[in-house]
C-alpha cells in the first residue's frame, strides 16, 4: 500500500504545478482543489483520517469555494459568456480530469483492500477520538485562541467587505 502514498504525492505535486503555471484563475483554482484532495488522500494513507476529512470539507470544500465565489464575482461582464465558451475546450479540463480520475481509482482500490485497524500505508490509525480528546484536553487554550481568531476574522471580513458607497 506504500504505492498509494507515492501516487497521491505525484498527483498533488502535478496539480500544484498546473495550478501555479496556468493563465486562468478559475482553472488554477480547480486544479488546486484536485491538489488539496490528493493531500487529503495522503492524510488517509498516513493514518490520519480526521485530518483527511477536514482537508476535504474545510480546505477543498469551504476555503476554495470562497476563492471560486470571489473570482466569479470579479468576472461579471458581457464577455463572460464568450469566456466560458473558450474555457470549455478539452485542453482546459483534460489534465485535471485525468488527475482526479487517478485519485478516484486509487480511493476505490484502497476501499476495497483496506486492512483492518491499520492505516493504508501501515502503522496505527490516530482517529477522531484521540484527536478530540487531545484537542479538548491539553490543547483547550489553543482551541479558545483559535475561536477568538475566527471571530476576529469574521468581524474584519464583514468590515472590509462592505461597499463604501453603500450600493
Amino acid at each position: 500500500m506504500l504505492i498509494s502514498f507515492y501516487i497521491c504525492s505525484a498527483v498533488a505535486i502535478l496539480a500544484t504545478l498546473l495550478a501555479i503555471a496556468g493563465p486562468s484563475p478559475m482553472h488554477s483554482l480547480l486544479e488546486l482543489i484536485v491538489s488539496l484532495l490528493a493531500v487529503g488522500l495522503i492524510f488517509f494513507t498516513l493514518g490520519a483520517p480526521f485530518a483527511g476529512i477536514l482537508e476535504v470539507i474545510v480546505y477543498a470544500g469551504a476555503i476554495m469555494v470562497l476563492f471560486v465565489f470571489v473570482v466569479m464575482m470579479l468576472n461579471l461582464g458581457d464577455e463572460t459568456v464568450q469566456q466560458e465558451r473558450s474555457w470549455l475546450k478539452p485542453s482546459a479540463w483534460v489534465a485535471p480530469a485525468i488527475l482526479a480520475l487517478i485519485l478516484l481509482a486509487e480511493l476505490m482500490q484502497l476501499l476495497l483492500t483496506r486492512p483492518e485497524g491499520t492505516a493504508f500505508a501501515g502503522g496505527k490509525v490516530v482517529g477522531a477520538t484521540e484527536v478530540g480528546m487531545s484537542l479538548y484536553g491539553p490543547y483547550l487554550l489553543a482551541v479558545e485562541l483559535g475561536s477568538m481568531l475566527l471571530l476576529a476574522g469574521l468581524i474584519a471580513a464583514f468590515h472590509l467587505g462592505r461597499d463604501p458607497e453603500g450600493r
Partner: protein, 109 residues
Amino acid sequence: MNSAEALIGTIPLSQGLMVAGILFALGLAGILIRRNLIYTLMCIEIMMNSAGLAFVVGASRWQQPDGQVMYLMILALAAAETSIALALVLQLYRRFRGLDIDAASRMKG
C-alpha cells in the same frame, strides 16, 4: 505492538517531509513569479497546506494526535486569513479595477 513492529512498511519520515517541502517550494515559486493577487493568495494557501502536511507526517511518524491538533490550528488560521484577504481583494478591485499586485504600491497613506 512495539514501535519497531509498527514502523514496518510505513512511509519513511524523510519522504513525507520531501513531499511537503516540494509543495512549499512550489507555493513560494508561485508567489515569486505571479503578479495576480488571486494567485498570490492561492500560493499562500499551498504553503500553509504543505506546513500542515508536514505536521501530519510527524503525527503519523510518532503516532500521536498532537500533529493533527496543530494541523487543525493551521486550518483555522487559513480560514481566517482567507476571509480577510478575499475581502481586501474585493476592496482593491473596487478601487483599481484590476488585480495587479503592483497597483497597490501606488496607494498613499
